[in-house]
């Protein structure tokens, strides 16, 4: 079990005055049996009043508006999350060859997670990956899914800027490169084409340095904090997580924020405003071990606190619509 303190700051700077800004954010970590969201708060500058609701995928959404003219907008989401050790999934070894018999039933139950989407069109190039993964696996559905994740990890280069936030898998497939968002999308495409329901997961990847007091500070491919991966529904065991960026299943370092059909359903920040000004976006995500009951920095159930809390900062600068 690990406890994290997360600070996710999104900042828009506009070249000129804008007004009547309406925003919708999905920043609240999921609270369920394998992850507890102990506290969450959201602040904006300029200040605003907000409302919240849960969307069709069960995600918490916060909406707020700022009417007067402003030249910058900062959205700060702060949360404390407890990551539990996930139970080891049990597979009864359903054969990949049996999967086709379940296609209709799975489509009936999970149409949203098997149908093609804007980011994840069912391109023919996905079949080649699917066949290679089927060969590499052990003939079971679970084996196929894990092999797909490995294969994407091996074949694709992690290159920041190779794609952009609105890229469909087409861009990444043709370049053989991309970022976590692309790899998660490709993963969805490959398994969906086989009839398996799969959903996009947005969240954080807590760097090793913060996740374990002993580990040295090291870069983790996939960015320091904001991350994306996939969950696939196996008819014989339910939803399992896969991180094709790392090529392995997600663990205690993964903090889930939202589920969706693709990135479009889970964009952390989305908004519209009045004004003709251009904008620049910057995102900072700080992760540090949360304080324990005595107010000390605390990482895991391990009682010895780390000597100094590392603070990891990521800053990206990219032009975008008011969407991150």
């Amino acid at each position: 079990m690990n406890r994290y303190h997360l600070l996710h700051a999104t900042q828009f700077r506009y070249d000129g005055p804008v007004s009547e800004s309406y925003n919708e954010v999905r920043l609240r970590p999921i609270h369920d049996e394998t992850q507890s969201c102990l506290s969450f708060r959201i602040l904006t500058d300029p200040v605003s009043r907000g409302t919240s609701y849960r969307d069709a995928f069960g995600n918490w959404v916060h909406q707020f508006n700022i009417l007067p003219e402003h030249r910058h907008l900062k959205i700060e989401a702060e949360s404390v999350v407890l990551a539990h050790d996930a139970p080891v999934p049990q597979f009864n070894g359903m054969k990949l060859s049996e999967l086709e018999d379940h296609r209709e039933e799975l489509e009936e139950q999970f149409l949203d997670f098997v149908a093609p989407t804007g980011y994840v069109p069912h391109l023919p190039q996905l079949d080649e990956l699917g066949e290679a993964a089927a060969k590499a696996g052990d003939g079971t559905v679970a084996g196929f899914v894990h092999a797909t994740s490995h294969l994407i990890h091996e074949r694709f280069r992690y290159v920041k800027g190779a794609t952009h936030v609105n890229s469909s898998i087409q861009d990444s497939l043709s370049q053989g490169a991309g970022v976590c968002q692309d790899f998660a999308h490709i993963m969805l495409g490959v398994v969906r084409k086989r009839g398996l329901p799969a959903r996009y997961v947005s969240g954080y990847l807590v760097p090793q340095s913060a996740a374990s007091p002993d580990a040295k500070l090291q870069e983790v491919i996939g960015g320091y904090a904001s991350h994306a991966w996939a969950e696939v529904y196996l008819p014989d065991s339910g939803w399992i997580g896969l991180d094709p960026t790392l090529g392995k299943p997600p663990g205690l370092q993964h903090v889930r924020i939202a589920y969706g059909r693709d990135y479009g359903d889970v964009a952390p920040v989305r908004g519209v405003y009045k004004g003709h000004a251009g904008q620049r976006l910057s995102v900072d995500v700080h992760v540090r071990p949360a304080l324990d009951d005595d107010g000390r920095e605390q990482l895991s159930e391990n009682k010895t606190p780390p000597p100094e809390a590392p603070v990891i900062t990521e800053r990206v600068q990219q032009p975008a619509q008011q969407q991150q």
Binding site: Y22, E24, R49, R54, N65, E107, V272
Partner: protein, 487 residues
């Protein structure tokens, strides 16, 4: 009685003729109007027709055809010969429509709520989820008083042999046309006052008051001083005349998106006295354009943040958002099942046989019988995106066949329906001839009972032989009389 005068060349034909039971034998409820018309000489009739046209023109009763470059507004052609429905016939229609409206409302409550119907396997979940107009953004929203289908304009047609009324489309989004019903009656009373002396015709003019009452009852703040507005996309919308007409009739503000603003989940109207809170919006803007934060980000017709206010229960919208799923032409085929499932009743009104191209056996049938069928895109309305098999040339049939094969879920097919005919004046011929009609009654639902103004809009395909009654495709309309008695 041999046909003469304006009826000189009248052919009853092989269709169900609403006025004539046989070539020279008017049905009892049409007898008096038939005598009146038969006694007129063409020039007398033509004179009254011109009076009627002038009345429409002077009052600016118009509509817009989007695909026509010739100009924005056009007169909606009006045919002076009324369509008459005896009382008992109307009662059956009324109870059938009310049943349908309540079942559709329960279906919408269910698919955006508990989704009981999927668990009970009365309709495939995947079919509903694949509807273009099924909005995931609406799931979980509790709409005021549980009403989704405040206003429905259900299209009816009559069986060519028996004259039985069948439902063709439900139109539970933003059906238009009621203003023509009201105006047609006024113009008719002015140009043909003598015709009304012979009949007891049920009035239609209480529609705005009834709609206003329902809108008021939705106010989240309760009380009689609810601020109600009609949200229009603006003057370029095909139904702008109707929007301004209804707002004026109900005494409510006619607003565009830019006149409203949301702050902290509350909707306000910008007025010269400052912001005024809005409780109920009769919106004539499509779902996609309603809120640029939730739906199309490029929309300037709606109000950003509106869905948040709606979700929080701070404003009522009529009709509810997401109703388009019930208008999907594939879902249409399941409405009789909804009536049985939600109400435990047998449908009073028949539906038209429908082939769902998403089903393999239906698809094969449709592809093999294109020239006999009407093929429709499931998410379209107003006669757009449709193939009329019998009148299409080979090239068009082949092109449509390809479209259907490429995206079967997007199409349904129905047999060609030889719509019933009502005598109508053909200005080109200078005589009266049979023209095909349908009927769109307007149903208002307040959560307890369904109120339907007697009759509705009779749309008529004015071109000889045409079966397409849509105003966008050259149709006109008639005054529709529901009688107090039988004749």
């Amino acid at each position: 009685m041999p046909l003469q005068g304006l009826f000189g060349d009248y052919q009853v034909g092989s269709f169900y003729d609403e006025m004539f039971a046989a070539p020279d034998q008017p049905r009892p409820h049409y007898a008096k109007i038939f005598e009146k018309l038969a006694s007129m000489v063409p020039s007398q009739f033509e004179e009254r027709r011109q009076h009627a046209d002038l009345a429409f023109l002077l009052q600016g009763i118009t509509f817009t055809v989007y695909s026509d470059g010739r100009g924005t507004e056009r007169l909606f052609p009006f045919d002076l010969i009324p369509r008459i429905i005896p009382h008992s016939e109307w009662q059956r229609i009324e109870s059938g429509l009310a049943q349908r409206v309540v079942a559709l409302n329960l279906f919408l409550q269910d698919v955006y709520g508990k989704q009981r119907i999927f668990a009970d396997r009365k309709i495939p979940r995947s079919l509903v989820y694949s509807c273009k107009h099924f909005l995931r953004e609406v799931i979980g929203i509790e709409v005021p008083r549980g009403i989704h289908t405040h206003i429905c304009g259900i299209d009816l047609i009559r069986d060519s042999k028996t004259g039985e009324y069948c439902v063709l489309e439900d139109n539970v989004r933003t059906p238009s046309g009621i203003s023509y019903v009201l105006e047609n009656r006024l113009v008719m009373m002015r140009t043909f006052p003598d015709a009304f002396q012979a009949y007891e015709v049920l009035p239609v003019n209480h529609y705005p008051a009834e709609l206003s009452r329902i809108l008021r009852s939705l106010s989240p703040r309760g009380g009689d001083d609810a601020q109600i507005v009609l949200l229009t996309p603006g003057i370029y919308n095909s139904a702008y005349f109707e929007h301004s007409f209804l707002a004026q009739q109900m005494g409510i503000e006619l607003v565009e998106g830019r006149d409203l603003i949301v702050d902290g989940g509350i909707v306000y109207m910008k007025t010269i006295h400052g912001l005024q809170r809005v409780d109920v919006i009769y919106r004539r803007v499509d779902d996609d354009f309603l809120d640029s934060l939730t739906f199309r980000p490029d929309s300037v017709l709606g109000v950003p943040g509106l869905m948040g206010a709606y979700r929080a229960g701070n404003v009522a919208l009529a009709n509810a958002v997401g109703n388009g799923v019930a208008d999907d032409k594939a879902i249409y085929a399941y409405v009789p099942a909804f009536i049985r499932y939600y109400l435990g009743e047998d449908p009073i009104l028949r539906s038209v046989d429908t082939y769902l191209c998403s089903k393999k056996e239906d698809l094969n049938y449709v592809l093999g019988h294109l020239p006999e069928l009407v093929v429709k895109a499931v998410g379209e309305s107003g006669g757009y995106g449709m193939l009329m098999g019998p009148t299409a040339d080979r090239e068009r049939l082949e092109e449509f066949g390809r479209r259907v094969k490429a995206d079967p879920r997007n199409y349904i097919a129905q047999p060609v329906l030889p719509l019933s005919r009502v005598p109508s004046y053909d200005p080109a011929l200078g005589t009266i001839a049979g023209r095909h009609v349908d009927l769109r009654p307007y149903c208002l639902y307040d959560g307890e009972k369904v109120t339907i103004v007697p009759g509705g809009l009779t749309r008529v395909a004015l071109q000889q032989g045409s079966l397409v009654v849509n105003s966008s495709q050259g149709g006109g309309s008639k005054d529709t009389w529901v009688l107090f008695g039988e004749d």
